[in-house]
């Protein structure tokens, strides 16, 4: 176990270093914006996979935490004169609280009912955001921009600093999720996913474990929301719309829910497709729809899952042949 943790840490450090060095080697404002968005959506999708892939809980309402992250952080920065790290801490804490309350109600439900109830909660949050105009700006969102006071020499008003900040958060959050997934906690979650009755008979407190996973996923998702708020310098009710939750699910589906980095691959695929199709044609729906259709019908599973399965099958065949 210790060796695996060290390996994960090493990979993380190398990836982080590569990301930080990248802009000096290859100058591209497009790439910088892309990585920042990758961080926001990637953290969001990866956190959802803690529920979907690891615990077997399909949530249709995960976008609510993306929204609490963006709005929480945005409101704190606009109304209270506090530092960015403190605002982030408070935002993640508030999201955890929301996850605790919502989760306590939702996680006892099974499968599709859990999915719909989380969706209902998200839509309630969306209605609240749109209705509470004096606080949230209603459907216009938080306007006027977010103040970004310098902290520890980091000036997030500079895109290059935001890039480094987002890249660091991405690696950090992935490490946290990896740790959660690859420890006894994660193994118990998988046990719950595969056979909840058995887990119960083995003495596992299924409800509390699910709730813990829900709170962890929600808190981490809010970090993605914070990065998005910084990118657009504001927050919009679209972040709380169920289409945002849908995007996260698609990223997991495209990249794979079994392989750890599946959601990240899926995020990259969806963002690249989105950006490319938008530039090349105005028939976005037709083009993207056809590509996704071919992808799903062809692979029938996420890309990394497909590759992992193909490798496993080849090994099996080689094992049997030898």
């Amino acid at each position: 176990m210790r060796r695996d943790t060290l390996r994960d840490l090493a990979v993380a450090v190398i990836a982080w270093a590569a990301l930080m060095v990248f802009p000096s080697i290859y100058e591209s404002k497009f790439a910088i914006d892309f990585v920042i968005r990758m961080a926001a959506f990637g953290i969001f999708a990866a956190s959802l996979n803690l529920l979907v892939g690891v615990t077997g809980m399909v949530s249709f309402g995960h976008g609510m935490f993306f929204a609490t992250g963006a709005y929480g952080f945005g409101l704190l920065m606009q109304k209270a004169a506090i530092s960015i790290p403190l605002a982030m801490l408070l935002t993640v804490g508030a999201s955890a609280l929301v996850a605790l309350v919502v989760g306590a109600i939702c996680v006892r439900l099974k499968e599709i009912y859990f999915a719909f109830l989380t969706l209902a909660f998200q839509m309630l949050l969306h209605s609240l955001i749109v209705a509470w105009v004096p606080l949230t700006g209603g459907d216009q969102g938080l306007t006027g921009g977010l103040p970004r006071p310098v902290f520890l020499g980091i000036d997030l008003a500079k895109q290059s600093h935001l890039y480094g900040f987002s890249a660091t958060l991405l690696v950090a959050m992935l490490l946290v999720l990896r740790h959660l997934a690859e420890t006894p906690f994660g193994y118990t979650l998988r046990l719950i996913r595969d056979n909840p009755e058995r887990a119960h008979f083995l003495g596992v407190k299924v409800f509390w474990m699910r709730l813990a996973a829900f709170v962890a996923a929600g808190s981490i998702a809010s970090v993605g929301g914070i990065i998005m708020a910084l990118f657009v310098s504001g927050a919009f009710p679209e972040f709380a719309n169920w289409t945002m939750s849908g995007e996260a699910i698609f990223m997991i589906m495209l990249g794979g829910s079994t392989v750890f980095l599946g959601p990240i691959a899926g995020t990259a695929i969806l963002l690249v497709l989105n950006d490319f199709v938008t530039r090349l044609t105005e028939h976005y729906g037709l083009t993207l729809g056809l590509i996704i259709l071919l992808f799903t019908l062809g692979l029938r599973k996420g890309l990394l899952d497909f590759i992992a399965d193909a490798i496993a099958r080849r090994r099996e065949r080689a094992g049997q042949g030898g």
Binding site: S28, F30, D139, G141, P237, T278, R279, G285
Partner: protein
């Protein structure tokens, strides 16, 4: 359907070139000896409001073709780079940044609506690039000091202007017909709420005895208005105000007709006089009071009628409110460019402040870009009644701009916009 090959070819060429450039690793910004002036236009080309993007694009391309055909800016032609944000504000922000950073656009010609416009506004604040907002009617975009940046301008109409003109007109009709009991029915989002609140405020300003006895707030894009219609039928107001628009207004009229709504009350529908609604509604009631979104008969000038006819002939559809606003925006941009003989954003911004252009859409043939808050005034604002056939709104009573400007100044002070 509009012809879209010309911009699409440009799009594909630009897109392919951009893709190649990104792939090969050559930044697009700062290409030496660039002949064209690239103007980036984030807009909505898909979904329920696709009409916004397509009709804006049509109007813009006509202006750009005119400008380029006349020699452009000393030989430099304008190249429009139009991209779809699908109505998502974070996409609008991303697209705006991409247009400037990767595609080398020197101006953001923003044709986004409500939250999208605010998202693009923050990008303009961040990058310092010249930005024209051509669609957003939210007053706060330019009136609120926290949104004021030297490089952003609005060339669209403003909700507050429409409300003052509307309130004044409605009070006139109400006094003549003895109407005191009002009801409102508007979509439940920022535009609907603000516009309705302001209309009621100014209605009461001009006629204090007016009373709002009921309100209905259907959701935007709600398919079914039955419960709203029956509520109005139950309340039996003498007059009804609504700022529903587009497909919503059409559905509302169709469903209201079933209940005889339009014979029972005097109707004031701000967004009725838009050809998209006027030509689509099959059983258009007579005598609906409407503000002018775009109508060929107001201003009653040859120039306006000619512009409308030319648009119709070229694109086989009527122009929309968004069309004239975008055309006006491009007019301001090109004339400012010619005035300073440069495509430099800062110089153009200098020229734009206080600039007056001759345009078919001006109340007196001109529209001015007010320097203090960088938004347009003097465009044609008026109200008239509908007939169920061409020319749809034959007579329009023009709004009084002196009155509008005076009351707007007071409104700004009250709101703390200074």
């Amino acid at each position: 359907m509009s012809k879209t090959q010309y911009p699409r070819r440009r799009f594909l060429k630009t897109g392919a070139a951009a893709a190649a450039a990104v792939g090969l690793g050559f930044p697009m910004v700062g290409r030496a000896q660039a002949k064209t002036i690239k103007v980036g236009m984030p807009t909505i080309l898909s979904g329920r409001v696709a009409m916004l993007g397509t009709s804006s694009r049509n109007a813009v391309m006509t202006e750009v073709e005119k400008f380029n055909a006349a020699g452009g800016l000393g030989g430099r032609t304008i190249e429009m780079v139009i991209r779809d944000s699908k109505g998502q504000p974070q996409e609008a922000a991303r697209v705006a940044r991409e247009l400037v950073n990767t595609d080398g656009c020197e101006v953001i010609f923003d044709c986004e609506a409500s939250s999208g416009a605010f998202a693009v506004h923050e990008v303009a604040r961040d990058l310092g690039v010249l930005c024209l907002h051509n669609i957003s009617e939210t007053s706060a975009l330019t009136a609120d000091p926290k949104n004021r940046i030297p490089n952003a301008f609005r060339t669209a109409r403003q909700g507050i202007h429409d409300s003052i003109a509307g309130g004044s007109y409605a009070a006139g009709v109400a006094k003549a017909k003895g109407i005191k009991r009002w009801m409102t029915c508007s979509p439940d989002y920022a535009y609907g709420r603000d516009t309705t609140a302001e209309f009621v405020e100014y209605l009461k300003h001009f006629m204090p005895e007016a009373e709002v006895v009921g309100e209905a707030w259907p959701k935007l894009f709600q398919p079914d208005y039955t419960e709203v219609v029956t509520k109005i039928v139950q309340t039996k107001p003498q007059a009804l105000y609504s700022c529903l628009w587009g497909g919503d207004l059409t559905s509302f009229i169709d469903q209201g007709n079933l209940y005889g709504l339009f014979q029972a009350s005097e109707i004031f529908a701000v967004n009725m006089a838009d050809y998209t609604t006027l030509t689509v509604v099959k059983n258009l009631p007579r005598g609906i009071h409407s503000g002018n979104r775009y109508i060929k008969t107001f201003p009653k000038t040859g120039a306006n009628a000619a512009w409308g006819d030319a648009y119709r002939a070229k694109y086989n559809e009527y122009p929309t409110n968004w069309s004239w606003e975008s055309a006006l925006g491009m007019q301001f941009l090109t004339e400012a460019m010619k005035k300073v003989n440069s495509a430099d954003g800062k110089k153009i911004a200098e020229a734009l402040r206080g600039m007056k252009v001759q345009t078919p859409f001006g109340a007196d043939g001109t529209v001015t870009m007010r320097a203090e808050d960088q938004t347009v005034v003097g465009y044609a604002v008026g109200w008239g009644t509908t007939i169920p056939g061409e020319p749809y709104v034959p007579e329009v009573t023009a709004g009084d701009w002196n009155l509008i400007l005076r009351l707007e100044a007071e409104w700004k002070k009250r709101k703390g916009f200074g």
